[in-house]
Symmetry: C2
């Protein structure tokens, strides 16, 4: 049953929008992944049909267990494999027999463990049946629009960020941060050995996916570098892509070759290519998160002049340092604007400048100042720093965004419980909040970079 | 009553070890700092006497309120001022009349607000009475060994890190991180305008303070640069100092001049001086925390060869990249060691190399591997990466530390709730846990740097 040309039959959509899922290797032992994945799928609120498969169990978490895939009485859109590698090819053949067209292979023990033979078997199945496979040796897929956690850990906080990662842990880490601060994710995909579905296929999927606003990628090497760059260029003109590529040093390249057999290639050439094709390259995990978050939310930054307002003098200075080091201009305020600011309720102890240091201040002082500045059209972006537990921060910033658009980032620090509450509220309103002034500036710089890339594309 | 020579009368100790504290400007309004500081002092478990002062109240949080400092029936070791600037000099004179020798002035509205005259009054009081003053325009002192939170927010998690900061928010931010991850602090001091007690006085105090193992400093400019370097050199030979100095860029320097009237001086010269005098200079807030944490805990790192063990292949590669970029050597494992590792319960799918990628693994696999490696004395430091929710991590690492000493850092990521629990447990055992491999490497690099500085000092 060869199928290659039709878009429908070759689509990877069913990996994300499956209405029925079989979990082969579903386990009764809560410490096993075969248990955890089943449990996450059910607890995540998945509304399709779920079929655990395990010849040595009858019921699992309230679901009837089937001895074999072939015993399942309904169609299967997606099969998840959590069984020893040697048994995976046979399981896939049975899934294909059931007309299943999508598989996630969690199991390791293939090429990365010296079993190229087993991986060949999988490739034969892919080429002879058109079955689409994510993995093997991966951490699965989490797609919140379908409430489908065929992965771990369970993530239920829905947001705008999709993570595509050659490391399951990296995906889980970014998702964990997004959950902890109420930002949320649209999806995580762990690539594993990429025998079939690769980073480019996934970029194309998330390009169309409405729940995704930006994409964070962790790669050790692209499977097909040219295709990756071509696809990324098309995607990034509408949805920003941030990329952390590891294996940059000689030792890192050796380790990457062991992990997913990725060939690293020349780092310098890759770097130049990223710039050219509109991929925002970053150099550590936190920057990957910040860049994707900043670019996905700060879509209204169109110039490099910043206004910084703060209740913390020190944080303001730190922000200026980071801004100037990164080519963002912190221009002084015109004298007439300073005059207007001095007519407000803002403390006379404030520093009426840019940064505007309100000193200890209620949120209303922020509003008064931002009303004046935003009416003057003298800056391109705003960094609002809350350096104390200041309730009402969300209202201040939301009003500013309504007036000036999506060019407002927040740094909230030193604010204890109030900070945590306000951060979640702002994230729910689509306003990015960063833990330090430096990370806020980096997030804004990424957004400005993406704007410049998109302008350049319009020009050519 | 002039007093200059005696160490006792001029000591700043009572700022930290006060047995009786007056809070002038204690307020009935929970939104005011005068309320919050009183409340924090009481809720923090302070066991000395507390005297709220406010002419318009009779009782506050169960404490009798005094109309004036002079009405307080007992001696006062420390007075905290939270009243408008104009009234501060008179309040201080009354405190001196009560033989009080230490003051924290929270109030702003002095030099930084154009009231150099008021600040002169304070200086006159200092020089004529020997009263020791922290501030004005500051966020106070938090000293956990005395359960004394004359500051905000309230921090009750006791740990080895002291923070000295020209920004109250920076101090509160580092303290907040230390609380959230169970690392804890020994103290925070917010310097404010530093009319009397300055960064060097505080370094000398923390040098002797047994609860402090390392010091994080945020400065916009040293009050007396030469003394600062001389004192820092003496302190850092026993207690590591990490420093974030802002006001590095032209805009940052202008902002620093407004904030605390600090003159920034030449950044390049300052940088060279830091190296020479053993101060670990860092360039952003998170690095400040990581460097102080790493140097205070990783006191056994005496060479640059690292062993990296992980359950997450990607995290291992990221760690290697960061290590090699920072001059830390990731040497291959000798063949006989690889042979021994293959005789354990570690999965045959593991990558038996450095980094040792266990793949998905229980904590016992870490123990087996680390037992073998640590017996070989082939490395100087260990980075243990947990890239999944792995219970029992603390026991693994504690055993390793017992064997090899304080040269073990942990990166724990992608581990959800288990991660949070294990992180707190490890911090209580004095083992530093970092949120990413890159930050762990940076913490270790700082510790190695400090070791090299201390060796150099022994040589000369």
């Amino acid at each position: 049953m060869m199928s290659t040309s039709s878009n429908d039959s070759n689509s990877i959509e069913k990996l994300f929008t499956a209405r029925s899922i079989a979990i082969v290797g579903a386990s009764t032992n809560p410490e096993k992944l075969g248990y955890q994945i089943l449990s996450n799928l059910l607890r995540g609120g998945y509304t399709g049909s779920v079929f655990p498969v395990n010849p040595r169990a009858e019921e699992l978490l309230g679901k009837k267990v089937y001895a074999s895939i072939l015993d399942i009485p309904e169609n299967i859109d997606l099969v998840v494999m959590v069984i020893p590698a040697d048994f995976v090819p046979q399981g896939l053949r049975e899934a294909v027999e059931k007309r299943c067209r999508s598989a996630i292979i969690i199991s390791g023990g293939f090429r990365e463990a010296g079993r190229a033979d087993l991986e060949s078997d999988l490739l034969d199945i892919v080429s002879s049946t058109g079955l689409r496979i994510v993995g093997p040796n991966c951490q699965g897929i989490n797609f919140l629009a379908n409430q489908q956690c065929t992965s771990w850990p369970l993530v239920k906080a829905s947001g705008p960020l999709a993570v595509i990662s050659q490391s399951g842990t990296v995906a889980a880490t970014l998702a964990g941060w997004a959950v902890d601060e109420g930002f949320g994710i649209s999806a995580t995909v762990s690539l594993g050995n990429q025998i079939d579905v690769c980073e480019s296929d996934l970029l194309e999927f998330f390009h169309k996916d409405e729940s995704t606003k930006s994409i964070a990628m962790y790669l050790e090497g692209a499977r097909d570098g040219r295709r990756f760059l071509r696809v990324a260029e098309a995607v990034s003109s509408q949805k920003p892509i941030a990329l952390l590529k590891s294996g940059m040093t000689p030792g890192g390249q050796r380790a990457a070759a062991s992990h997913t057999r990725s060939l690293a290639g020349s780092d310098r050439i890759f770097d130049a290519a990223c710039r050219q094709f509109g991929i925002r390259r970053v150099y550590n995990l936190e920057s990957l998160y910040d860049a994707a978050k900043g670019m996905g939310t700060l879509t209204g930054i169109k110039g490099n002049r910043i206004f910084i307002i703060t209740s913390s003098g020190g944080s303001g200075i730190i922000a200026v340092d980071e801004a100037e080091r990164n080519g963002i201009e912190v221009l002084p305020l015109p004298p007439d604007v300073v005059g207007m600011l001095k007519q407000t309720h803002i403390s006379p102890n404030a520093t009426f400048s840019n940064p505007l240091d309100l000193t200890v201040a209620p949120s209303s002082h922020y509003s008064e100042a931002l009303d004046i500045i935003s009416s003057e059209e003298i800056v391109d972006m705003y960094l609002v720093i809350f350096g104390d537990p200041i309730p009402g921060a969300t209202e201040v910033v939301s009003q500013l965004v309504q007036k000036v658009g999506k060019c407002v980032a927040v740094a909230y620090l030193g604010g204890g419980e109030v900070e945590k509450e306000e951060r979640t509220k702002m994230h729910h309103s689509g306003i990015p909040v960063f833990p330090t002034p430096e990370r806020a500036i980096q997030g804004m710089k990424s957004a400005l970079w993406m704007h410049e890339v998109q302008m350049r594309k319009l020009d050519t």
